[in-house]
Subunit: 213 residues, 2 copies
DNA sequence: TCAATAGTGTCTGTTAGACATTATGGA
DNA sequence: TCCATAATGTCTAACAGACACTATTGA
C-alpha cells in the first residue's frame, strides 16, 4: 500500500542575489525537494525541524508551515497528500553532498506537486516578511544595513530609498549597532548590525488596501 | 483501521458585531466543526468547496486553506492528520438545522485539534485582509460605508477615523456607489456601495516592520 | 426641535522619497 | 588624486488623523 502522506521541506536561502531552495540532484534532469513519509505520532513542526536539521546539518533559522498539497499531481512518494514546510537557512549556508541550491524562480525540474510548493514560497515569504523577521533570518547574525536593504529589495522586488529605509528601521527599534566594521572592496567600510528587537511600540497606523480582485 | 486524514471547515461570518463560526451542536456541552474524511482523489480546495456548499446550502463567498494539523490532539475522526479550510459566508447567512454560529473568540467547546484551528483563524483573517477582500466577503453585496468601516474595525480590533477611512477607500478604487440609499432608525440615510475593484495602480509605497520577535 | 447618523472640507503633524553633502576607505 | 560606498542632513509633497461643519432623516 502506498504511504499515507509525506512531509516536504522547502529550504530557502539567498544565493547570488536571488532566492534559492535546496534540492536533491537525483538524475540528470530531475530534481527533488527533501521529503519523508509523515510520522503520524509527532507534531508536524517538530518533524519538519528534524528533517530540516538532518538535511542542512544544523537547525534552520526559521520554520513555518506552507500548507497541505493534495491534488493528483505527481509526487515521488506516491502519497495522495503532502504537507509542506518552509525553512530558512542564512546566506552562506553550504549545500550538503548530493544537493544544491537552485533558484526558486524559473524551471526547477521538480515533480509537479513540489513545483507547486516552490511556486507558493515567494508569495508566502513576501506576505510574512511584514510580520516575521524573514529578511533577518536570511542574513547572517552580523550584517550591514546595505545588505539588509538589498534583502528587503529582493523580497519586495522593488528598490527602496536608502535614507528612508534607515529612518524607518531606526524607528522600528529592530537592530542594534555593533562595534565592528567591514570593508568590502572600495568605498567607506560599513558598520555591522545585529537583529535585536526591542519590544517598543510598533503599531501600524495606516490602513492599506493592497488588493485588486 | 482509522481513516487517513480529515478535511475540516471553519465557516466564518459576522454575528452581533463579532466573528462567528459554524459548529454542530452535537451534545449538551460539546460542539464540532464540520468535517469529512478526505477524498484522496479530489483536489483539496474542490473538496472544501463541496463540503462548505453542502453545509451552508450555498457556495461560500471566499475560501482559503488554513493549514494542516497533525499533533496528537483529539479529533472526532481519530485521524492523525487534518487539513483545515476557512470559508466565509456573508453576514445574515442562516445557520442550517443542527448547527449554530458560535463566537470565534472564547470557549468554543470544540475538540482540541479543532480548537487550535479556530484559534488560528482570527490571525489568518487579519493578515489576509490586507491582500484579499475579506471584509467585503463578510458583507452582503450591497453595504454602507459605515458598515464596511465597522467590519474593518472588527477585523483590525481598533477604531478607524471616518474621514480618513473614506479618503483611503476612495483612493483605492475598490468600491462603486449605487443609486440606492438605506435608512436605519434615525439619522440621515446612507448610500449603498458595492465591491467593484477597478484595476488601477494600488502599490504599497511605505515599508512596515510590523513585528517584534 | 432634538437626537442621531451620513458625509465633507480644512488644518496640522508626521513621514516617505528626493536631493545634496560629508565621511572614509581602496585603487 | 579619483572613485565607490557609507552615512546623514534638509526640503517637499503626500497623507493620516483631528476637528468642525453641513445634510438629512426619525422621534
Amino acid at each position: 500500500m502506498t504511504p499515507v502522506s509525506s512531509l516536504d521541506i522547502v529550504a530557502c536561502t539567498v544565493e547570488e542575489r536571488e532566492l534559492a531552495m535546496l534540492a536533491r540532484t537525483a538524475g540528470q534532469r530531475t530534481r527533488e525537494l527533501p521529503w519523508e513519509v509523515l510520522d503520524p505520532l509527532a507534531p508536524l513542526e517538530r518533524s519538519a525541524l528534524r528533517i530540516a536539521r538532518s538535511v542542512l546539518g544544523e537547525a534552520p533559522a526559521w520554520v513555518a508551515q506552507l500548507g497541505a498539497y493534495g491534488d493528483r499531481a505527481s509526487h515521488p512518494s506516491k502519497c495522495a497528500l503532502s504537507v509542506a514546510f518552509v525553512v530558512i537557512a542564512p546566506a552562506g549556508t553550504r549545500a550538503p553532498a548530493g544537493m544544491a541550491w537552485v533558484p526558486l524562480a524559473g524551471d526547477s525540474k521538480l515533480p509537479a506537486r513540489q513545483r507547486t510548493m516552490a511556486a507558493d514560497v515567494t508569495a508566502m515569504l513576501r506576505v510574512r516578511m511584514h510580520t516575521a523577521p524573514i529578511a533577518f533570518r536570511l542574513l547572517p547574525a552580523r550584517f550591514t544595513l546595505s545588505e539588509l536593504q538589498r534583502m528587503y529589495e529582493l523580497l519586495l522586488e522593488r528598490p527602496l530609498h536608502k535614507a528612508s529605509f534607515r529612518r524607518t528601521l531606526q524607528a522600528s527599534a529592530l537592530v542594534e549597532a555593533t562595534e565592528e566594521w567591514r570593508s568590502e572592496g572600495r568605498g567607506r567600510p560599513a558598520q555591522l548590525y545585529r537583529y535585536a528587537p526591542r519590544s517598543e511600540a510598533n503599531a501600524r497606523r495606516s490602513l492599506t488596501f493592497d488588493f485588486l480582485g
